[in-house]
């Protein structure tokens, strides 16, 4: 389907290993794949260069940094004023992710906040924008499960 990705079985195994633990040594991955460490390191750099791999990072607990509240907001706006609302969102430092979307909401965003009180303020701030028609909020409870390993690669031609 997407043959230009040029990803083969070894590439997928590298990604799978690093999804679980980005610090896995290339030597360990090489042993599992039955190839040389050099091959793994070459493949990794190739995927970085191609933009398949954007980087590696650690997963942090927001609570450890005093952010007790993670929430998502769905915003519906009066068309065609999406950009004006987006401008407001950019001024709110707690909003770490937003995208215009189709379907249930016009804008979907994720906010990392110190507490629920601040979420309420942020929601009121957004609701105060004249072009905003509706804001729905959902607070993410403690157990946020990140499962990057659910990415499928089976559809790729290889």
């Amino acid at each position: 389907m997407n043959s230009n990705a040029g990803i083969d079985e070894i590439d997928v195994r590298i990604i799978r290993a690093l999804q679980k633990d980005a610090r896995t040594t290339f030597t360990d991955i090489a042993r599992d794949c039955g190839v040389s460490t050099d091959t793994i390191s070459k493949r990794f750099r190739k995927m970085e260069k191609a933009g398949v791999i954007r980087g590696t990072t650690i997963l942090l607990n927001p609570k450890s940094f005093g952010h007790d509240c993670v929430a998502s907001l769905g915003i519906n706006v009066s068309y065609p004023h999406l950009n004006e609302v987006a401008e407001l969102l950019r001024t709110i430092p707690e909003i770490v992710f937003y995208t215009s979307s189709m379907g249930r909401s016009d804008i979907f965003c994720i906010a990392v906040l110190n507490n629920v009180g601040r979420l309420s303020q942020v929601k009121d701030l957004i609701k105060g924008h004249p072009m905003v028609r509706e804001v729905t909020t959902s607070i993410w409870v403690d157990e946020i499960l990140l499962c990057p390993e659910n990415f499928e690669f089976e559809h790729l031609d290889r």
């Binding site: 997407n2 769905g74 979907f108």
Partner: protein
């Protein structure tokens, strides 16, 4: 957490594979210090793990979607130990292919899941699979095709 911890976190956020030796050199401390701090940060749950960030577009994913799920009322008096409907749905969600974030929520819905889809057919299938999970009463979807306007550089999506 002190300045050394925060510097270690900062380095590893940008590049989780940075060697402890290199971090130690930059911070002017011993590699053992960095290793001990890293292990302590993991034990106290500050660092929950590490992962590789891939670009979904490069591996054939055209769309991302957020699924907002309502669970059916169970009409069972729950106790602290009763597994709730939402917990059971959550367990199923995280086993689903192409779902990369899942959480229970308080507020507008009971659960939220973020997934990646190859095309509209695939998106529809993922939605249908979620709707089939026992206890799911209602499902709403928002999806986007372009890269999000604002996204942390090292967000898993």
């Amino acid at each position: 957490m002190d300045k050394t911890d925060l510097s270690i976190i900062e380095k590893l956020t940008e590049e989780a594979r940075t060697s402890f030796r290199e971090i130690a050199r930059e911070l002017g401390v011993s590699p053992d210090t960095v290793i001990n701090r890293y292990e302590a940060l993991q034990e106290t749950g500050v660092i929950r793990g590490s992962t590789v960030v891939i670009n979904p577009k490069k591996i054939g994913y055209q769309a991302m979607a957020v699924f907002m799920i309502d669970a059916s009322p169970t009409h069972i008096m729950a106790t602290e130990t009763t597994p709730t409907e939402s917990s059971q749905i959550l367990e199923k969600l995280i086993e689903m292919r192409n779902i990369i974030i899942a959480t229970k929520t308080v507020g507008d819905h009971d659960l939220l899941a973020i997934g990646v889809a190859r095309d509209f057919d695939h998106l529809t299938n993922i939605g249908a699979d979620i709707a089939k999970i026992p206890g799911v009463k209602d499902l709403q979807v928002s999806f986007w095709i372009e890269k999000a306007e604002l996204c942390p550089e090292y967000f898993i999506i």
